[in-house]
Amino acid sequence: MQSAFQNGTPIVALNHAEKHFGAVRALDGVSLSIAPGECIGLVGHNGAGKSTLVNLINGGLAPTGGSVTFPASGESRALSAGVRSVFQELSLCPNLSVAENLRISHSDLKGAGWRKKARAEIIQSLDAVFPDHGIGADTSVDRLTIAERQMVEIAIGFAPRGRDARLVILDEPTSSLDAGIAQQLLAHIRQFCADGGAVIFISHMMGEIFDVASNIIVMKDGKIVANKPTSQFSRASLVEAMGHVGVKNSKAAVRRQASDFGEEVLKSKDGLTARRGEIIGLAGLAGHGQAEALARLYFSNTSSWRMGKASNMVFVAGDRGRDGVLPLWSILRNMTVSILPQTARRGLVDRDAEKRTAADWKTRIGIRTDDVDNPILSLSGGNQQKVLFARALASHASIIIMDDPMRGVDVGTKQDVYDMIQTEAATGRTFLWYSTETEEVCQCDRVFVFRDGKISAELTGDDITEDRILEASFEMQEASA
């Protein structure tokens, strides 16, 4: 089916495209063409140049050198050539409804009754990509969960919007979606490519790349280092091409027993419990109350009025823009904001101690910057996340709450953070870790599975497997079906 389109005129062709930001070569001479029917898996480290490449293709940036053309349509602009982008950082307007958000990128919807047309179009698109999505076209976006917002954004990407989409770029589209919804998306991508569309699929999840991509492009330091059909890659060879030292097998560590932990340090109304030194996982389908449970737990254990020298609980945000990053500040100030009282004398910030802490954590967690005085927004998303980790780990807090903190973080960093969490847990710190990635939850000592805002199962020891977690996430729904 796919081969019928393989020899068609490329939808987009890049010829030695370059992009420089001052002295930084974000993209260093990339040649590439994407034909109808192709699904390109685009992989690489944080900062390898994936986002720059995407922005050249969708017209967000103009190339410094070389050319970007759209031979199949003969158009000069990406938008009229049918190129669409769905970004990892959600870009919907929260105060508008789902249908109104479609209107923003669909300027042909005008005149009386445009809302009706918009409603029909977005619902049709949602139905096509995510059957049984349960999202209303008139719901305002701020009342949707983060997973539902991502679904809407993807549906807008695939919606007709006057002319058919020819190339859809999906940047980490599944980072907030649970496995079932992600499968629906992958199925839709396969269908879309079989019908003659093309997709660029950026993901840190290897399984999905192998599942859906016809070709894989590996980027490193602004260059394409490999561009081959998926069948010629194995997981190991792909990771090697990206330039990792090889992912260590984290299962090597012997699973710790209940007797390895200290006394119970936490017991919430929801039924969450945690012992000293334990890593607690929160699992289940996205949007089933895990994030809310963690936020409630944090708010009820900390005060809006007092902050002692040693607060016993810290929070690592996953939704960086809403919950974590202080956008006007430098990396250093973002990193140290929670630990200032620890070193302050008579209310004055100890700036030398602050500098030492920042320099120490910059190396320990590997933040890619020349200078911690640079603005936090100069970092890529994954590196911003590292700053938020450093903020929490640098404190003296004994309980660390993590609300899906690995969104958009590359494989190498994830491994570093896993190791760091293990080490810190061994010194007696307790972690509560919500993740949408089952693989991460499986590294925990004990797992609570959430369903419909309540805990549906508590798994320990060898019961913590992907199957058991999925079973607990879906059980009742299947029984009632």
Binding site: S304, R306, L326, W329, L348, V349
Partner: protein, 315 residues
């Protein structure tokens, strides 16, 4: 030219350039006569605008929607009650000052109680509170104009080392605010809360404590300004704070503080306060009527705000 670049990168420089420009315009008319008198007057009157402006700046730094509209009423109430307590008796200045500070603390607590307990938007809460403050001032004043004690009046209108005493008070408060913002943990908390309240709370910052302290501080600053203004002008008047409603906000914005919160600018408040006084003197000395003067003042403020905001988006 690293020094030039450094200076141009400071947002406060523009309010000082504007103030200098207005000063030159007046001097052009008088052919340079009365330069030191004009500077002295600008420092005296500008000091009151700067003191209330510093308080307003801290509140505006708390983020969108945060503003204190009760500044004029708090100034009036503090001036009225302080003068009434002192009753023109000698050696009561300290007592009067204490009363003024006390009024400020209570007014700030009242404002924040309305905001926090009744969940009112700060604009509504402080406007409502200002009606109460103004009513108390009218009720306790009963049309009497009590003179300040002689020593205090002399201090408020006097000078030290050639500078007006009120300007020195304003300078002292500015340095205090600058230290708090730049060097203390509390200052960091305030700036963080102004950027993203939820993120600040999740980073462990006691945000309600920060907000309460800030609303009390702005009221205390307004009270200090009201206390010295009534001593300076020979007694408290019920409309003495009126012009400071717009002024307190204008000096913050012209001074380069971000209206979106999270970023303060102390030197800019001073430049803008001097500018606001000098613009009025300039229009006066060109012999324009009150109506034209107010219109031009408004136009100039709008122009500066537009210029400042476009410059910042480009940066």
């Amino acid at each position: 030219m690293p020094i030039v670049k450094f200076i141009l990168s400071r947002t406060w420089i523009w309010s000082w350039v504007a103030a200098a420009g207005a000063f030159m315009m007046v001097m052009a008319l008088t052919q340079g006569r009365g330069a030191s008198e004009l500077a002295y007057a600008a420092l005296s009157f500008g000091a009151f605008a700067a003191i209330v402006g510093l308080g307003q700046m801290l509140v505006i730094t708390l983020g969108p929607g945060n503003v204190d509209l009760s500044i004029p009423a708090t100034m009036t109430l503090a001036g009225t009650l302080a003068l009434k307590t002192m009753g023109s008796d000698p050696n009561t200045a300290i007592l009067g000052f204490t009363v003024a500070i006390g009024v400020g603390i209570l007014a700030g607590m009242m404002n924040f109680a309305l905001i926090y307990l009744l969940r009112l938007p700060p604009i509504i809460a402080t406007l409502a509170a200002s009606l109460i403050f103004q009513s108390i001032a009218i009720w306790s004043n009963r049309g009497l104009r009590i003179k300040p004690p002689e020593g205090l009046a002399d201090f408020a209108t006097g000078r030290t080392f050639g500078l007006p005493n009120v300007a020195l008070v304003g300078l002292g408060l500015s340095i205090l605010v600058w230290i708090v913002l730049e060097r203390t943990v509390f200052g960091r908390w305030l700036l963080a809360a102004g950027q993203n309240l939820r993120a600040a709370r999740l980073a462990g910052i006691p945000v309600e404590f920060v907000r309460a302290t800030t609303y009390i501080t702005v009221a205390v600053f307004a009270s200090i300004a009201g206390f010295f203004l009534s001593s300076f002008s020979g007694g408290a008047a019920l409309n003495m704070g009126q012009e400071y409603l717009l002024t307190s906000i204008a000096v913050v914005v012209i001074g380069g503080t971000s209206i979106a919160g999270g970023m303060s600018n102390v030197p800019g408040v001073w430049g803008a306060s001097l500018f606001m006084f000098l613009v009025v003197s300039m229009l006066n000395s060109y012999g324009l009527g009150a109506g034209v003067r107010m219109m031009l003042t408004g136009t100039i403020i709008i122009g500066i705000v537009i210029a400042a905001s476009t410059r910042r988006t480009r940066a």
